[in-house]
Symmetry: C2
Subunit: 341 residues, 2 copies
Amino acid sequence: MKKVYLKDIANDLNVSKTAVSLVLNDKGDENKISQDTQQRIIEYAKKHNYIPNQLARGLSRGKSETIGLIIPNISDTFYSKVSGVIERKAKEQGYTVLFSSSYEDPEKEGELIQSMLNRQVDGLIIASTQKNQKEIDFLKKEKFPFVLFDRHYPNKDTDYVVVDNYLGTKKITEHLLNLGREQIGLITLKPALEPIAQRLLGYNDALKSFNIEPRKEYIIEIEREAYLEEIEKAVSKLILSSTPVDAIVFATHYLASQGLRVLKKLNINVPQDVAIVSFDELSAFDIVEPPITAVIQPIKEIGCSVIEILLNKIESTVQQDIKPTVLKTKLEIRESCGQLL
Amino acid sequence: MKKVYLKDIANDLNVSKTAVSLVLNDKGDENKISQDTQQRIIEYAKKHNYIPNQLARGLSRGKSETIGLIIPNISDTFYSKVSGVIERKAKEQGYTVLFSSSYEDPEKEGELIQSMLNRQVDGLIIASTQKNQKEIDFLKKEKFPFVLFDRHYPNKDTDYVVVDNYLGTKKITEHLLNLGREQIGLITLKPALEPIAQRLLGYNDALKSFNIEPRKEYIIEIEREAYLEEIEKAVSKLILSSTPVDAIVFATHYLASQGLRVLKKLNINVPQDVAIVSFDELSAFDIVEPPITAVIQPIKEIGCSVIEILLNKIESTVQQDIKPTVLKTKLEIRESCGQLL
DNA sequence: TATTTTCACTAAATCGGTTTAGTTATTGAT
DNA sequence: ATCAATAACTAAACCGATTTAGTGAAAATA
């Protein structure tokens, strides 16, 4: 069973390549190809399992039916889950997804964007390192379809889909305050990224709304690359201080899970000695000891919004408006704050 | 800044497209293009940020520098982690990865394979549903480069990378036996898949090696799609039987975590009443209550082996031997079996 | 000096499709 | 009977690269 090309069909049926191409692209009727001929072509194609070469097709149409997905790390549960949704939705519309991880390296991200563009992707989805103003500006200037998610450039006018990081963190912090905790620490990352910055604001404002002045020594910003080691110091510092905290807000799921490991190692009772909450979660947060209260991100909605906006941009002929999307997080109360359930 | 094509460079420098192409593909010397001309071309290309259109390139070379990755589900932590390794290693060699999830649907998997082939991927990596004999045979017949992983077709002679599912399950079961447990249940999936079948064998043989005859009523095979509901019945049955089990082996990480949820709900003490072990793990298994003993898969090795075998096949001109790779799992002892640590 | 090699290139074919701009043959209107 | 319109196609250009087969001039060899 040799591979069959458009040319072969045309030759064998004594019609032109044009006719075959038109018919197989569903443009037979509008181009007045007779029903009989259409039938013959379609049957032949089906029988010989003809599949067009997408490279050739993409080359001549200037469209590849492919979208590029650039994320910090596919191994991270949040990104892998969003990627799953994006891929499924994209496939439903006939698009295939090229993906690459930037590992938080802006230079690499820049290269990835370029590499995706050479591959003639029809659009890009980027959870950016937020240090690639240049590439983003380039995409904007070229009016190339793209959507940012999870992290956007607040000073740039682009499409993006994010969750309300500010409000989410405010919610978990207020949850602690409502349960009577007052010395609340925050373990977060160096605030290079917009979501992280927003989470800090949410934490601060929650305290202020309870008339508590945030204390600088309760806020610890650690380096993402070295978080495994640094978190140990961070937790110890908050716990063993002369004015120890009675609760800790963790700004990411991996900070929370690693934080809990450290607390266990130090024999701190959660929630009796210290209550903890997490922004975002791992799927096992409900069965860890104790189950961790968290605000969870609407994974499915994020993925769906992203793909919807992008495909709209790709497929519509009229210029689409730029539309920021901010989704709500959901508070999932568990036992790590001492509330009886 | 307009986009620049090969033709533009040729025109502007008064050389032929051939010369430009050769030089930019590092074939200038072997084709005796003068150093001077080479310099000019390279400089011009760099200055104008020339990037070849990969579709055109792929079309004319019959090679796309792309590999296709087909997995059951990118959202599953195991597959997302292996995917991360595969993507990183592939990128290092200049390949980009197209991915799609089959969601255990053999028909969809078949379509995905076809779709990847139209897109002219240079090779395929598949964690198969194991129900696509046809497509696999087709790939074999065409001598198309591909590597299976996680799941292979035991009756077919193909390259694959798997872990020793048999020995891994034997190890965790023996661990329970060594700690004095004797009524050991197994909660697993309907054994359509090779790894799952192997895990059953490992469980059985472990018992036999301790002179215990496996009991049919201790082995519960549940439907993957409905595992959330079925596992509840399964656990209850094992626990509330007239001869209740004193330990349960879970054949996957998600069975184990869901199993633990159910045990907690039923107020069963782990490990006092029932010890549990899991094949494969979630990253939080060390902080759940109790921490779950598991055999873990060597994610990095799996990814590296897969990509190494595939790129070898793609890039070498001589026919490569077919090479099955079976990797070792590692027993991670935690507290869910009652052993004091 | 005549012939072969080598050097430094290039024209044109090719990859496998899509699309534009025609071309016949037939039908319908006047 | 004549001209315009329509039906049913097709030839050839094109997408943007790679690659094969050659070319003319200079240098080397006989």
